[in-house]
């Protein structure tokens, strides 16, 4: 999941990134910690029936009047094949 913001002046700021995956391999399919048996040690996936909540606090340059927040949720199936699951946005203003 990638979170970005575009300011009213057109500057794109990366706010944060989160990965939900099996622990054994990285998003490119490379072994990261050894064999897949490592799965039993830690679970980085989204659990069923539950909401996984992420919170970011992002600061923007002085003078910014508004930003368009965008959240892009991408599913990596296999190396080289990915699909956008959700792209949602929200405009946030800083006017006094």
């Amino acid at each position: 999941m990638d979170v970005t913001a575009r300011t009213d002046k057109g500057v794109v700021i990366n706010i944060g990134k989160k990965e939900y995956r099996e622990i054994g391999v990285d998003l490119d399919g490379n072994e990261r910690l050894g064999a897949w048996q490592i799965k039993e040690i830690i679970d980085l996936t989204l659990p069923p029936g539950k909401t996984t909540e992420e919170r970011f606090v992002a600061e923007f340059p002085e003078g910014t009047k508004s930003v368009d927040i965008e959240v892009l949720l991408t599913y990596y199936l296999t190396p080289g094949y990915q699909s956008v699951v959700h792209r949602v946005g929200k405009k946030v203003g800083f006017e006094r």
Partner: protein, 285 residues
Amino acid sequence: MRSIKIIGLMIVTFFLLVPVLVRGEFNTIDELERTYGDKACKTCHEKTHAEWQKSLHAQSVVHSLGGVRNFIVFGLKRDWKKPVNRENLMRCMHCHAPLLEHASDSLAAEIGELVVSAFDGNEGAKKQLARLNVNCVVCHNTVAEVEINLRGATRPGVYYGPSGRPTAAHGTEKSKSITSSAFCSRCHWLYTPPDGDTLYCNTLYGSYQDAYKAAGGAATCQDCHMRAKERGHTFPGAYVPEMVKEGIGIDLQATGVRVQPGTGVPAAIITIGLFNNAGHRIPDG
């Protein structure tokens, strides 16, 4: 005309019975495919066969080349110093191509080489491996029953399904097991290969049982992946974007604030909720 139909039916029946009557060691993929392939089933079950061809069960080896290749190259050869023979290869193939239990050791070794070669980009090797999969014979005969040590193994020449509707082409039997999630758990859970070992390969069913069912979930694998929206034998999973969209809901909340006194620095507090609607963890297989 009538006699032609009878002869045709006899031929189809012969090819449907052969897979479960012939038990032996095959030395080529051709032999294996001739005996346990899906072509005879297609004769009568054209629509279901077409659905299945769209599924990853039809590509269960070529779609998982990375994992099987890692098992061979890093596991068997590098870490465990074990031969690539049928017994060891079946630790993967008992799920990815169960009918390889009928392969000779030399064919198993050849398939091991094809996996590594296909992973490295050899299209010819990939084409050969595409003929190995989880086909009709696997689910409707070979592994159609669960708890076979108690209930008894499936019978040769009999195809198991939810209806058990009789046909002249082959024996049929109604199977409750095949409609249960436990049936799918054979491969989509902690897996016990033929040598009795325990493998952590796919753990999807673990989260289904321990997180979804334990919290009151009632749907079976078949409810979402077959019956819903008449998905049938396409068994859509994460490779179908619509399925992932159904599985994960998203909520975005964002509030603008100023974090310092005076003019203040513009800031945003962003909260994102990802709700997993599926009956199992995401991602997994």
